[in-house]
Amino acid sequence: MIASLSLILLCQLVGEVAVRALAVPVPGPVVGLVLLLLLLLARDRFPALARGPLGDDGVESASRGMLANLSLLFIPAGVGVVQKLDLLAEHGIAVLVILGVSVIVTLLATVATFVAASSLFSREEERL
């Protein structure tokens, strides 16, 4: 458990350091995500890596536990709107309308693209 959490924190730490050292506009945890994914993929190729947090479902179960309660983690930031009540009173309705319209447009665009692209790519595969 502790070793698994350490591995996750270590990935994030390396990510944060890399992002700052290279001054790239990517959040550090996202680099950490890629690192952890690469580690897991490397473990498939090199069984010697399957020890400690990488062995016996260690880092996997720690991650699942954290993700099962992901929504809790947004609350402290969300409560920050108490500082913006004047802004909400002024623009609240507009923000709701904007988000609603944008949700519909984005869903349609994404799903249409996915369907179009997957039929396009599968047709190409058939031709090969």
Partner: protein
């Protein structure tokens, strides 16, 4: 104990313990209610926790800074949780590899549509610049969206709320909208919902005697993927169709990667 109950409050209200407890307790209750309503989108536990805690802070005249001194311990975990998204992505690597090209194309178009539509609409409504910037990253994982918001010098708290609201609207809209358009590719539906991540889904598995049951135990192998996907943000259809649920998780992990 002090003679003056007020001095106890003064002490407690300044300590992290009280606000950490308030955050966890409110969420635990809101989450239980959400489970009772079988994860109805309008019973969203984050939405209700946020306003309940907000009202409590206003009533007790507590500043957000004081509250955050306690709640920061929860807030900190957003970073590690983002790293942890590597696990559902890894567990679905075969599905990801099988559909990687359509996913990347849909991801690019979807993210672009989300950002452009919200910025254009916000400009049409004449919203101030800092509000527009706070809304722009709303379709990314909240943790990442707040990071982007910060680097744009916008307001992360407004971004967090817009991500949450987007997730709720998504959950309400996606099933009727997709049925209306007649799209039945559940990989596509799950993926589209995953791009606007967030909200807890209703993961259901075939139960005994063919009845569906809520997925609660994350140790069950079938549930693990569902719960990961649920954290990512899936709609009812996604939860009912395992493939869509998997694509939700992938959509979320990838959409956070796209920034």
């Amino acid at each position: 104990m002090s003679d003056n109950p007020f001095s106890l409050w003064v002490y407690l209200s300044q300590s992290p313990l009280l606000w950490l407890t308030v955050t966890l307790l409110t969420y635990a209750v809101a989450d239980a209610v959400s489970l009772k309503t079988r994860r109805h989108p309008l019973a969203n536990p984050v939405l209700h926790s946020v306003w309940i805690i907000g009202v409590f802070l206003l009533l007790t005249r507590t500043s957000y800074t004081t509250y955050f001194a306690g709640a920061q311990f929860v807030h900190f975990l957003l970073g590690p949780a983002t790293v942890a998204l590597a696990v559902p992505l890894y567990e679905n690597r075969r599905r990801v590899a099988a559909a990687i090209l359509p996913m990347l194309v849909a991801l690019a178009i979807g993210s672009l549509t989300a950002i452009v539509s919200v910025v254009l609409l916000a400009q049409a409504f004449g919203l101030p610049r800092d509000v527009i910037l706070s809304l722009a990253p709303k379709s990314v994982t909240a943790g990442v969206a707040m990071g982007i918001s910060e680097s744009l010098h916008a307001d992360p708290s407004l971004t967090a709320v817009s991500v949450i609201l987007t997730g709720i609207m998504d959950a309400i809209i996606v099933t009727p909208l997709m049925n209306f358009t007649g799209i039945t590719d559940f990989r596509a539906r799950g993926f589209a919902a995953g791009i606007r991540p967030w909200h807890r889904h209703r993961a259901r598995l075939p139960g005994r005697r063919g009845r569906r049951r809520l997925c609660r135990d994350r140790d069950e192998p079938e549930c693990a993927g569902h719960l990961a996907a649920g954290a990512a943000g899936c709609d009812i259809s996604a939860a009912l169709i395992p493939a869509a649920g998997q694509f939700c998780a992938i959509g979320m992990a990838l959409s956070s990667k796209s920034f």
